[in-house]
Symmetry: none
Subunit: 403 residues, 2 copies
Amino acid sequence: MLVIMDGLGDRPIAELNGKTPLEAAATPNMDRLAETGASGMMHTLGRGRVPGSDVAHLAIFGYDPDTYYSGRGPIEVRGLGIPLEGGDVAFRGNLGTVDDDDVIVDRRASRIPDVTDFVKDLDGTTIDDVTFIVRPGTGHRAGVIMRGKGLSANISDADPHAVKLKVRDPQPLDDSDEAKRTASVLAKFLAQAHEQLDANPLNAERRASGQMPANYLLVRGAGYYHGIPSFADRYHGLKAACIAGGGLYKGIGAFLEMDLLSVAGATGQANTDVSAKLTHARSSLDTYDFLFVHIKAFDAFAHDGNALGKKDFIEKVDAAMAAVLDMTDTLLVLTADHTTPCALGDHSGDPVPVLINGPGVRVDKVKAFGERACTCGGLGQLIGLELMPELMNLCGLAKLEGA
Amino acid sequence: MLVIMDGLGDRPIAELNGKTPLEAAATPNMDRLAETGASGMMHTLGRGRVPGSDVAHLAIFGYDPDTYYSGRGPIEVRGLGIPLEGGDVAFRGNLGTVDDDDVIVDRRASRIPDVTDFVKDLDGTTIDDVTFIVRPGTGHRAGVIMRGKGLSANISDADPHAVKLKVRDPQPLDDSDEAKRTASVLAKFLAQAHEQLDANPLNAERRASGQMPANYLLVRGAGYYHGIPSFADRYHGLKAACIAGGGLYKGIGAFLEMDLLSVAGATGQANTDVSAKLTHARSSLDTYDFLFVHIKAFDAFAHDGNALGKKDFIEKVDAAMAAVLDMTDTLLVLTADHTTPCALGDHSGDPVPVLINGPGVRVDKVKAFGERACTCGGLGQLIGLELMPELMNLCGLAKLEGA
């Protein structure tokens, strides 16, 4: 069971007497896990490199982002349950409202709750041998895939990311024929989609009731999907599941073909029911070999510069850890994807603490789970790509090399 | 502010009761910086690799020597303020004295104080489409560049590095046409230069006054200059300056296009005014974003096997560190380029201590700056190429990867 606490790492904070939120928080359960386990510090991407959450998770799961990451689109689209094929270009999308001059009036079309009946007419459109797959996401969101030969993801966003701006034709970002063609075909599709959406009788109803029409498909985050081995393929057929509230993290799980488990109360926010997530994760070990549990709100507090909020949330999570103490025959791993110092309000490249508790672990002298306590732990300083090999070794699944 | 203390690292020494010179020295200022900072051990090139000062500095500044180093010539020549172009082959040179049989009588021509009026006649010579750029250095020294198409630096030294030996024609060190041609053109040039120098009326004056004639241009350390991104280009436009006494270290600064700052009393030797260097460095932070300060004499004492001298010099430098205590909003880094054990009298591959003090640093439990005290520091064990990423992260200049 791998518990990733998003943005948990921090730097010393004066209002916490020079401690980090994790050091300042009362965390008896995590400290006990540290005391009976082995700890270390993890540089997710490498020394000083600042990871986004998406590449950080890929690295922790043992997928080198330099090989497997090409933008957020494919991850988010997989998170919507839409299968991808190698060579696809995938986008995050949403339905918004533009006026007669194609200027954005509302990026979310009055927060339209469901776009299923709007995007179904666009799904399957083929232009110049490129098929567009458009599927509904949650709320105003949609996943968009371009499928065909010779596509490139190196094109600009059509979405200007703000209201009162005109939507843009996507532009090639290099001189390749692939980028030029992809941008050109996408522009044709977006114009055609705009006409279809604007003429959709459902938008007449929306206008009549004073709501913004959902008449423009905004796309962003183009990413080329090269194909990626599933978690099971990479790790000896291990049956893996993901418990996460946030869409990106479900996307990561789906991207690696983990099963996504729904847990009531898992919101991806500070009000999330951590106890329910961890309890569900523990009981799912009957069915699954590997559980990925993601907890998000640390990062949100840190982005807001709220050190006390981050500390309190850490204490809430620590209390919930009671659900996973004293597991037998299970490796429990606690770590973070990156550091988000409250003082910065943004990600940084400082390493994060990591602990492994369970059978076979060389229990070290570390007695607390924290950025500095873990520095002298038995795991030393490792990079993200080294974590899964450590776990496979401890599980007895690492292959003998040589004889 | 990055202070590199040349050859500071050492091994336990019996006459110092099993301590290293750094451990045996009284260093209250450096210890205070360690106590309020984060420490670690740095393997400049990698575990067990023995660095020369030139490659060590390149690695510390984040330039992989395997990519950017090709001999000392280009570095020394840049240190003389001579611009290089990609494809140049550069040499260290000096004027010496040979007899009528081309046997070296004096490698420094009676320590001639200035070669300007001798080399100006050689500068700009073109032979077989190769132009020779020859500029004066300090004392008997000169910088020599071969500029033209299809040159190679893989040729032997013409300088036999000792008196009573005949100067040699440079030889190609591989079978390539480039190496053969470069050696052949250089041989022609050196013969022609010898004739010109020998006939120089200034040498008649020298002979008349009983001084050795400066009649032979000795060249060594051929290096091919591939071009190298400047420090500013590599690090977000940071305006960098170098304060160093020794020529090689000025060369490193110039090679990376740092400004070279002159400080009265900076000699690159044990009598250097460390306090003046550090005070000048601190005040230069008004103008510069990054200060590289080099202090040399540790290494010279160690090469001489003088452990007590090394220890005393460490204490002198520690006292001078008073000038850089209590800086605000500045990251101060203390480290060495390599270990020079007094017992060996030569460089070794043992790691060197490193400490970072300043805003955002996770202060660790290390309370002294020394080879063994820093082993359990928060920075762990890093390689030279990882130091600049750590610093860019702490400065908030590291770029987010992914999203």
